[in-house]
């Protein structure tokens, strides 16, 4: 999976399932939690999605607003553990 494919999959999931508005034009650098688009609960859901979809387990201390607030950050974090 390429970086852009991964970013597209994450963007689709976040807008459709977490923001609940598939048409929301989410920018790569937009604060998803800090911008009030989703609440902290949804970060745990993102953890479940990433485990189920990409078989990647992100430890609890990494599922924070500081580390997972923007699509850029989330993509980079998942990419780090994605099998090459």
């Amino acid at each position: 999976m390429t970086e852009s494919e991964l970013r597209a999959a994450l963007r689709d999931y976040i807008t459709r399932e977490l923001i609940r508005d598939a048409a929301y034009p989410l920018r790569d650098d937009e604060g998803i939690v800090s911008g009030g688009l989703i609440d902290s609960f949804a970060l745990a859901e993102l953890g479940v999605f990433v485990e189920k979809t990409f078989n990647i387990y992100i430890p609890d201390p990494d599922l924070t607003v500081a580390t997972m607030d923007r699509l850029d950050q989330i993509t980079a974090r998942v990419l780090r553990d994605l099998p090459k």
Binding site: R20, G36, L37, D39, S40, A44, E45, G47, D60, P61
Partner: protein
């Protein structure tokens, strides 16, 4: 233990297990953190810390009957401070924490208003927050490092009047307008005796909680009850639990916990957002009761929780329900230990139009499922009255709940304009529902109120906030709650009128601004934001925005558009 049988031997909440003697080495509190080792505090250690804190408060000039606000992040210090104040007969109140999303200015305005209105003597808070708050309030403000910890721990235990106010519980809602629910020692003890009877509490129980201590459920069930009853409390931060819900199940497993109170959304949060590998090797079979309370109880949420966790020891008999409010200390009703909550299917039309609960078959076209919250606890009586006439209603007739009990609030603190209890001793709850064979079936609220994740939100507050967003027509905003089966709670929806024919970039900016301002000012997420052209909103004949009509229209349009 404090039971109905032993109640007469307790005078005040200071007759608590950790001050009364018993085994000084017994565990009082275990404080869990996602990033550090658990902190275990014995009764003796907790008593020592409380006495030192009380000595520090006395040295700082705090006297009996002074009102103290504790505005900490959830930690050991806030618990010690609360009991320290009680020990010297001051009146403590836990205040909500400043969260990372909430606008600090809004939060401080709330505390400033509270300090002025209630005549607060001192605020005890964090070192970070103290210098910011100090210039804004007339009372003393102490950060953690302002409180000496080296004083002798020999502060004598006060002997308050049992009818004196023990502490205040600030109801959630708009911060600056909060009412302080004043609870006497007698009310708190009566409540714990009656409630302990309902859940058949024993010395072998262990309570696990992630609930915030400024909320009645967290303050009473997840803090005061275990300490007064002398059973261990295993506590964690609500913020850590939200991000890592498996912490709760790990704590149950590690400490063989037996009792846990959860708002409805928490069942969905655990069932949907705990990862498979976080369950490896865990067992929750030690549990006696999970108690679902503080927002609408859903049988579907119980089923979701049961289906997910039956494999690690969850049983249906563990899933109990309760209905409560701070004005009755905490619980009003509760299913009895070992008894399943009653669930019935009723006709929605009869409920809404005839105000009657008529049982129908599950496949009835207008079937709606209601889960009972048990029956009134010992010492509390409930009735249902007609909202308009005040006339007493019979079984299965829908009206407003009124309660009377031996544990009602004394007053709303320093609010002589509010008379919560009528001349006959009844308190109007503002909650709508019916009684059937004594069982409580709650169906709504008198006033528009959104309960999101156990938090009370007034739609008018959200509308006022959104009105300030540039591009929104002032006064042309509506906010309402939308039941969400997946989340097990009500979500906040905002519909705002904007000028027609704007470019996509501008509309995105307005949409993002609304979400950000609602989050930072109200501390809640607007899950749905819809921008509409002018004339979309329905107004009443007097020109006011008709909230429920707009909600119905929005739901209808979404259903037609095929949205989930």
């Amino acid at each position: 233990m404090l039971t109905l049988a032993t109640r007469s031997s307790y005078r005040t909440v200071l007759d608590t297990a950790f001050l009364r003697g018993g085994d000084p080495g017994a565990t009082a509190i275990v404080y869990l953190s996602a990033t550090a080792e658990p902190i275990v505090i014995t009764r003796a250690a907790f008593q020592r810390q409380v006495r030192r804190y009380a000595a520090a408060m006395t040295a700082q000039g705090v006297r009996a009957r002074d009102l103290i606000v504790i505005a900490h992040t959830q930690n050991l210090e806030c618990m010690v401070a609360f009991w320290g104040a009680l020990l010297i007969d001051a009146v403590p109140s836990m205040f909500p924490t400043l969260t990372e999303k909430l606008d600090p200015q809004i939060y401080m305005n709330g505390i400033t208003a509270l300090v002025a209105r209630e005549g607060v003597r001192a605020v005890f808070t964090t070192d970070d927050f103290a210098p910011l708050l100090r210039p804004l309030v007339t009372c003393a403000v102490y950060g953690t490092s302002d409180v000496p910890t080296d004083l002798f721990d020999d502060t004598p235990i006060a002997a308050p009047d049992p009818d004196a106010i023990a502490f205040l519980q600030h109801s959630s809602g708009t911060t600056g307008l909060q009412k302080g629910v004043a609870l006497s020692h007698r009310a708190v003890l009566n409540h714990l005796a009656g409630y302990g009877d309902a859940i058949a509490i024993t010395p072998d129980d262990v309570i696990v909680s992630w609930l915030p201590l400024y909320h009645d459920m967290g303050l009473i069930a997840g803090f005061m009850m275990p300490l007064i009853q002398g059973i261990p409390l295993v506590l964690m931060s609500p913020f850590e639990w939200v991000r890592a819900p498996a912490m709760l199940l790990r704590a149950i497993d590690a400490y063989r916990a037996t009792l846990c109170w959860l708002p409805n959304f928490a069942y969905n949060h655990c069932a949907r957002r705990i990862r498979e590998r976080d369950l490896d090797g865990l067992s929750i079979a030690s549990m006696r009761l999970f108690v679902n309370t503080s927002e609408n109880v859903s049988d579907a949420s119980h089923q979701l929780f049961y289906d997910r966790f039956a494999a690690i020891g969850c049983t249906r008999a563990m899933l109990s329900t309760s209905y409560g409010m701070a004005e009755n200390v905490f619980a009003v009703s509760q299913t009895r230990a070992g008894e399943l909550p009653r669930v019935e299917t009723i006709d929605r039309d009869a409920l809404e139009h005839e105000r009657r609960a008529v049982v129908v078959a599950a496949d009835h076209p207008r079937a709606v499922v209601r889960t009972a919250c048990g029956t009134a606890i010992a010492g509390t009586q409930m009735r249902v009255i007609d909202r308009d006439t005040g006339a007493l209603l019979g079984d299965r007739q829908v009206g407003e709940y009124v309660i009377t009990s031996d544990c009602l609030l004394t007053e709303y603190y320093r609010r002589p304009d509010l008379n919560p209890i009528d001349a006959d001793g009844w308190y109007r709850t503002g909650d709508i529902g019916y009684l059937a064979d004594g069982c409580v079936y709650v169906s709504g609220r008198v006033k528009d109120l959104i309960i999101n994740g156990g938090k009370n939100i007034f739609p008018g507050d959200i509308e006022a906030i959104v009105n300030e967003v540039e591009g929104v027509y002032p006064g042309r905003v509506v906010a309402f709650g939308v039941d969400d089966v997946r989340e097990g709670t009500e979500l906040v929806a905002v519909v705002a009128e904007v000028r027609a024919m704007q470019d996509a970039e501008t509309l995105h900016r307005i949409n993002a601004d609304i979400r950000r301002i609602v989050s930072t000012r109200a501390g809640v997420t607007a899950s749905y934001v819809q921008l509409v052209d002018d004339r979309w909103l329905i107004k009443t004949s007097s020109g006011k925005i008709a909230r429920s009509a707009n909600r119905d229209k929005w739901l209808r349009e979404r259903a037609e558009a095929g949205a989930s």
